[in-house]
Structure formats: C-alpha cells, structure tokens
Amino acid sequence: MTSPLLRLTGINKSFGPIDVLHDISLEVNRGEVLCLLGDNGAGKSTLIKILSGVHKPTSGTMDMDSKSVAFDSPRDASDHGIATVHQFGGTFPLMSIGRSFFVGAEPTRRWGPLTIYDRKRANEIAVTEMRQLGITRIDDGDRLVGGLSGGERQALAIARAVHFGASVLILDEPTAALGVKEAAHVLRIVLQARRKGIAVIFITHNVVHALTVGDHFAVLIRGSKAADFRKGEKSREAITDLMAGGEQMAELEAEIESFSAADNGHAPQGASHA
C-alpha cells in the first residue's frame, strides 16, 4: 500500500493559447476519499475529463499502480477501472433500471438457437446492488430510471461502477442538485464505496460535504493546485477562503454583514411590495 493507486505528476492542459491546468500533481490511494475543491472555472471539470479519458493532458504523466497509463477514450479509462459519475447520474431516464444498469455490458442467456438479453438477471442484479447501497425502495428493475430521485440515480450510477469493478470512482458534484436528506444519503454511499477499498475522487464546492467524507483535500484555483492537505489540517473557514481565492471571501462577508445590519436583517423596504 505504499504506492498510490493513481498518481498524477505535473499535469498541464491547454486548449490552444489558453492554459486551463498548470502543473497538477495528485495522489489517490485505495480506500480513501480525495476531495477536489474549487470554485467554478477552477479547472475541476477539465481535470476530471483528463482522468476519465475525454481529454489528454498536454504534458505530464499519469500512473496507475506505478505503471504509466494514457487513456485514448472514456472507454479506455473505464477499462482501467476508472468510473465517472456525473451530477445527474449519467443514466438514461426513459430506460428501465435493469437495462440502464447494464448498458453496453448486457447479460445474455441462450434461448434456443438465439442469444438473448437476460432481463430477469439484469433486473435482479441491479436491484440487489442498489439495495446494498441502502436504496431499499426499489424492488422492480423494470421501472424507469426517470422515476428515481436524484439521490437514487446517483446510487444507481455508483452501484453500477462498483459492480463493474471500478477501482477509482470519480463523482462530479454528486450532491450539488440534491436536498439535504438526499445529499446525506449520497455521502453515506461514498463512505460505503470507500470501505470497499475504492479510491474515490469527490468533486464539490460544498465544503461541509467535503469535510464529512474526505480524507485528503486538494484545492484548485485558476488551474493550479493551491493547497493539498489531510483531514483535520485546516478549518472549514480556511478552506472556504482558499476556494474563493483568499481575502475576497472575508471582504464579501463583511459587506453582507454591514448590509444586514443597515436593514436590521431584512430586505430593504419596498422590495416586498415590488
């Protein structure tokens, strides 16, 4: 366990003249949650796209298990055990849970001379895997994915990644569009995935969520890694300030403070009648 599962060294990425990522080095270990924090436009999505094989880095190297890797396509990355789950689950709302779970890797069985899609087995496995992640409401794999809540869709996508043996699970803002309860559930699932020894890369700009599940944190600011620290090394306020780029946040808070004080904590008069 001395060598990290995934190591990025000096990753640079530019699109034409625009440098998006600058000299990013990261390590991700098995059974650990790495929280990737950063404001909008900090380069988080570009970094995810490099990890998941959508983009190739302009320079820099990636190693998995101390072996150098380069991904030609998202398919290539997922063959290496890197699974990416997007904000809305990246699933198909009008497909059944079973079909969506096994898309591209459908289980089959013989039926006379024909090889057919094994709907019953697909549904059973999908439902069982989701139950293991604590989604007990789902008991019918024929139901459509669109009938699931946002958190359940995340769970479906994570269950899928786990089932297909992902060793690195990239979660792109999984809690951003969720309510408080649903977000808590997804965070619990993240911890369950970690317990299975999966390396989780958790992208968020919600510091509270990050602190709840993270073991290791990296903050991106304008394409560079501004901080890299372990759990407990920095306070929540310090992280928020870092993400917002330092002092601006304190200034903004002071501004809000003075605004609220001037209007006794209410909106300015007249606004309510508008």
């Binding site: 990246g90 009008l94 497909m95 096994f102 898309v103 057919i116 899609y117 008991d139 024929d142």
Partner: protein, 355 residues
C-alpha cells in the same frame, strides 16, 4: 392500492431482493406505455364499427385497412427503431418508388429474371440506407436534414434514370407465379401477402428491441448518445445498421408493390414519409428518442390504417380523413405523454408511507 401494497409485501417477504416478474399488477399495467396507443386503436375501431356499418367489419373491410397497415407497418417498424435511437428517415418516401422502378426496369423493361430485379431493388435500399447512415455519423448533420437531402436526390435520380432507360415514368412488370405468390398476391382474393411479411417483421423487430443486446443499445443511444458511446456501445455501427434496415424495408415495400400492381410509377410512395412518422408517434415513440415499443408501433400503424380506410365505409366525405388523423395524432401524443409520466412515477410501495 391497498390490496396491491399487500400483494407486494407478501412477495417481498418470500424473496426480498428478487423483482417480481410473473404477475403484473393493474397499477403496472396502466404504467405500460402501450396503454395509450391501445386505447386510441380501440376507440377508432369502435367509432368506425358504429359509423362504418356492416361492411367495415366484414372480411373485405378488414382487408382494406389491414392491407394498408401491412405496407405502412413494414416501413414504420424500422422508422420506429430509428426514432427510438434519436434519428429520422425521410428518404423512405423516395426509396419506395426507386425500388419499384428498379425492379420494373430491370425485370420488366429489360426482361431480366425477376430475382435479379428483386435483389437489385433490395440492394439499392441497403445502399441508400448505408449512405444515409454514413452521412449522418460523418457530417454530424441532423438525420432529418441528411435524409431530406437523400429524399430529393433519390427522387430526382429515379425520375431521371427512368426516363433515360425506359423513356417513361411508368413501367409495366410481369412476374412469374412464385414471385407473385411470395410478394404480390391476394389471399382469399382480399388479403395481401404483405400481411405475413409484416407479421414476420413485427416478430423480428420485437425480438431485436426487447430481447437482444442491440435493442438495449438502440434505447441507450436515443436516451443519451454520449453516455452510450462512453459505455462502449458501437454507436456508429448501430446507426448505420438502423438506416440500412429502414432502406431495406422501404425497398421491400416498393418491390412488392411493383409485383402486386404489375407496374411501377416514379411518383408513388411520398405518403409513406409522414404516414410512417404518424404511425410511430401515435404508437408512443418519443420523437426525440430513447423511448418506444414495438407493440406501440404496431398499434399506431393499425390506428392510422383504420382511420385512413374506415372513412370510406362511413357516410362522411372522405376528405375529412386527414382532419381526423390530425386530431388523432395530437390526442395520441398528449395521451402518450400522460402515460409516459405515469410510467415515470415510481409509486412508493409498502414501506415508503412510513418514511
């Protein structure tokens, strides 16, 4: 609802994680997307049975709309698959006459064996489908535009070549008894043999969509093409295969029409463009892709054919048929939306109420 919940909990008690497959409850039946199309078809059937009199319900009446349904249905099935995958194919409107003219010119005008004409016609369909598919995946131009272009190009090509080769826009075709029996005969003097080809096509397409991996790929592509490709689905190959199947089916209909009517015209078949789309949409397929069923497509085709032919059995002026179809299309889409929404609501069962 309570009895249903009771039934569910009983099932859940015996085998917790296993999804129940054998006995669908009434609730899940209502959530079947085909219910909307079924209601629509029954409604028009009842309507025309009442207003169409005894003739509509006779064998001859049934044949008149089943014949229309079978020709349209053979084209509507692959069009439905394409639409589920998020594509359209308008070029079938030119493919039908192009195929008719191919067989008529080769086997009628030049007197080649009928099998040559049949194979050439079907081969042309596959080729046009292949071109459509390649153009769509290479240019990334929406298939609506690509197939609109091939629709016109093929129509022009058919007209131009027909006049050059045969000097006419209408060519006679005499085919032997075997070809006649297989593709262009009437059973009992009323029912076209195309009906059996349609049934065969329903079985094949039904198998593909519901029981093959390929079917899952079609659904996934229509749902989200990028995710589908990332999941390892060969989306380019699937797209080309689907366009080739619609080309093949359209050319089959053109070819069998030529054998049935013993002649081919340059300007026949344009009605298939919209009629196939109408049948598929009435059948509950989502125009934007990702959703649809073969049962729905078949029901939509039957509905269209009943309205189209049923009007002649009523005392109404046949000119009103298009009005009925227009209204029906709108009503069907709204009803299908409702049933789709119902299918999407995952009724919280058993324990949810305590949560």
């Amino acid at each position: 609802m309570t009895s249903q919940a009771h039934h569910q909990s009983a099932v859940a008690a015996t085998a917790p994680p296993a999804p129940h497959s054998s006995m669908p409850s009434i609730g899940s039946l209502v959530r079947r997307p085909e219910v909307g199309s079924l209601i629509g078809m029954v409604a028009v059937l009842v309507f025309f049975s009442i207003f169409g009199g005894a003739n509509f319900m006779s064998a001859g009446g049934a044949a008149s709309w089943l014949n229309v349904a079978s020709e349209l249905g053979i084209i509507a099935l692959p069009i439905g698959l394409l639409m589920i995958a998020g594509h359209l194919d308008l070029s079938v409107g030119s493919m039908v006459p192009a195929s008719s003219m191919t067989i008529a010119i080769l086997s009628g005008h030049y007197g080649l064996p009928i099998i040559v004409g049949i194979l050439a016609a079907l081969g042309l369909g596959l080729a046009v489908g292949f071109i459509n598919g390649v153009l769509v995946i290479r240019t990334k131009v929406p298939s609506f535009v690509v197939t609109l272009a091939t629709l016109f190009a093929l129509a022009g090509l058919t007209l131009g070549l027909s006049v050059i080769l045969s000097g006419s826009t209408s060519v006679a075709l005499k085919s032997g008894p075997t070809a006649k029996l297989l593709f262009g005969d009437y059973l009992g003097g009323k029912f076209e043999v195309t009906l059996f080809w349609w049934i065969a096509a329903i079985l094949i397409v039904g198998f593909i969509l519901n029981f093959s991996r390929f079917g899952n790929w079609i659904l996934a592509m229509g749902g989200d093409a990028v995710s589908a490709r990332n999941a390892g689905i060969p989306t380019d190959r699937v797209t080309i295969a689907l366009f080739m199947s619609s080309g093949l089916c359209a050319s089959f209909v053109g070819m069998s029409q030529a054998i049935l009517y013993n002649s081919a015209q340059v300007a026949a078949g344009q009605s298939f463009i919209f009629n196939s789309i109408i049948a598929v949409v009435i059948g509950g397929v989502l125009l934007t892709g990702g959703y649809g069923s073969v049962v729905g497509i078949v029901l939509g085709t039957l509905t269209f054919a009943i309205v189209n032919q049923g009007i002649f059995y009523t005392g109404f002026d046949a000119n009103w048929a298009s009005l009925i179809i227009g209204v029906l299309l709108l009503a069907a889409v709204l009803m299908n939306n409702t049933f789709r929404t119902m299918a999407l609501t995952y009724a919280p069962r058993a324990k949810s109420r305590t949560r």
